[in-house]
Symmetry: C2
Subunit: 136 residues, 2 copies
């Protein structure tokens, strides 16, 4: 039995899924799954074999669903990988659309850089230009 | 400016990071980052360019950190991709180590199957043997 090869679903939560849909489609430039958010979930494809699902915790947290319940309150976090030569353009883009940059971080000198913002639900969204984590 | 190419960091939350570390290392068979959990975070590498970070929300949610604060309460969710011919072995493994299978789901006939369990913090952990989401 091999360890899992990848994560298929990364989850965030937002009670206003229309606002989340607009943010991840129009600001983060992600590709929506299907026609738009259901009452339960707004989904986005991130390359091959990986999706971001934003759930309304007031719905996904209800007991008696067809699948196990889950749903958190409070701000979550996700980090998207972007190209190093595009990180400054991302920061300008966030400012130009009125989202704003919450913080910039330079990781140990030249190892990588991050730009942080908030989605409409208050989740901390990071754009990072390198894999800064230990490789083995 | 291209859309983000991938997600670098997928996040869950748990107040007992030692229990989370043992679960994701020993039950989920993930590769820990570094020597083990800090007071803040237990991390695991998922293939190339992707990590799972389990944060203690009581620490990550504090104001005045070096990076933006975040931290949720309540059960979250993540789905790991496993091989189709190993899903039944995963279910047996979960039972044999005392975690237990919360639910099995068959997605639209032959399209894919899932096995669900809970991590020690109550997060809903799914093992799924196919990418069941729309491709475009």
């Amino acid at each position: 039995m091999k360890k899992p090869g990848s994560i298929l679903e990364t989850i965030l939560y937002a009670t206003d899924l229309n606002a989340a849909h607009r943010f991840y489609r129009d600001v983060m430039l992600l590709e929506p799954l299907g026609d738009g958010p259901s009452g339960l979930c707004a989904g986005f494809r991130i390359g091959t074999g990986h999706v971001l699902l934003v759930f309304n915790p007031e719905v996904s947290g209800q007991a008696g669903r067809d699948v196990p319940s889950h749903g958190r309150t409070g701000p979550g976090h996700v980090a998207f990988r972007v190209e190093p030569d595009e990180l400054d353009a991302w920061a300008e883009h966030l400012e130009s659309v009125g989202v704003g940059v919450e913080q910039r971080v330079e990781w140990d000198g030249e190892r990588g850089r991050s730009v942080y913002c908030r989605d409409p639900a208050g989740n901390s969204v990071e754009l990072i230009d390198a894999d800064i984590w230990p490789k083995a």
